[in-house]
Symmetry: C2
Subunit: 223 residues, 2 copies
């Protein structure tokens, strides 16, 4: 039980989701969990601002300690609860290195997603250009191809044989791609990875509630 922990989160956000997966993996169920709505702007509300002055989710506390950066929260939980729940750092030095490499390449993947899928959200109308949209879509496709290539030689997990922090952190981003209609036939290795990890208890237990109740998008189906 983790009564001294509080997580404010929004459904479907990879940064929030990865912290929820890390908490499940480390056997830290029972934390104070509060779901907020991005659509209603609740991430800019005073409950969040009291923990995270940037007004972003996740907002996470462990006792008096605040850790709002999702990568940081995952690394912290693994380090502070080394001998509890599932070990998320491989034994093997080469897998540890690959875990770190993939974990941080995950930032590129999420960046490309934001640049392409959320272009209209981030770029004011009078600054939008079809040339930028096209370039961003190509950038996302190239990035996804890199990951498809990785999974042709590595597996079943991102860093090899063990489920690790790389999966905790990057899986929600991969799931996001399939939620937006990524074609399983075009990216079969990534699809196999997605299908392996989506049934893991920590992932099933934290699956975005709004994804269960609504169909996915088909934005990426032709990619």
């Amino acid at each position: 039980m983790a009564k001294d922990m509080t997580l404010l989160w929004g459904s479907g956000s990879p940064p929030c989701w990865r912290v929820m997966i890390a908490l499940e993996e480390k056997g830290l169920q029972g934390y104070n969990s509060k779901q907020l709505s991005f659509e209603k702007g609740e991430h800019k509300g005073k409950d969040v601002l009291a923990i995270n002055p940037r007004g972003q989710l996740p907002a996470f506390k462990h006792g008096n300690i605040t850790l709002n950066e999702s990568y940081g929260a995952c690394l912290y939980l693994e380090e502070q609860f080394k001998n509890q729940g599932n070990k998320l750092t491989p034994e093997n030095k080469a897998e540890v290195a690959l875990m770190y490499q993939r974990m941080f390449e995950g930032l590129s993947l999420f960046d490309k997603i934001k640049q392409s899928l959320f272009y209209d959200r981030f770029v004011p109308e009078n600054e939008r250009h079809d040339s930028a949209k096209k370039r961003n879509a190509e950038g996302l496709k190239d990035e996804i191809k890199i990951w498809e290539g990785y999974m042709q030689t590595t597996g079943p997990y991102l860093a090899g044989k063990s489920f690790s922090l790389a999966d905790v952190i990057v899986f929600p981003v991969v799931a996001f791609l399939f939620r937006f209609g990524l074609n399983e036939e075009h990216f079969p290795k990534l699809a196999a990875y997605h299908n392996t990890v989506k049934d893991r208890p920590s992932v099933k237990n934290t699956w975005p509630s709004n994804w269960k109740d609504s169909p996915g998008m088909d934005t990426l189906k032709n990619l």
Copy 2:
């Protein structure tokens, strides 16, 4: 001595510089060091592509292990050489959490720098907008103010009393700001932090060579 390590790097790049600082801190001098020129496009050359298919620097190898993501390389070096050189993880749990929090907030700071200072490099001419430049400059200023605020209550290092991975990773980004003319009088706490860390041996020994030979810019002097 670290003869089984190879680092390909470019001068003045915060991602390269942080790996060099980490290597110094962990007593891993003597690695194979190869400086390349971004200006000449050498980061897209075959030496780099053999290690880093993205054609980016740093490109880092330890024996057969490849770790090109600078955050990952720093975390890996600290973990694999726990008992060598300087310990870069604080003992105290609250400082560990703060180390992770600041380390990853450092990504926001570097993003804002790139959006503002490198706007013309990243955005094709026909897609540029004065409104975007103005918004990006304000975004950078707001971000720097957040860091100035942090240093009003924390210090002398980013996570408190101990020099940690947060400093290894974020100091080069802070130094970049002053290289671009950030006004010490407008941001006195950040300036004090910069002045404290810049004389640290690991930092002095790796100070960008092209910064020594040329004056800084004054782009940020009015911020």
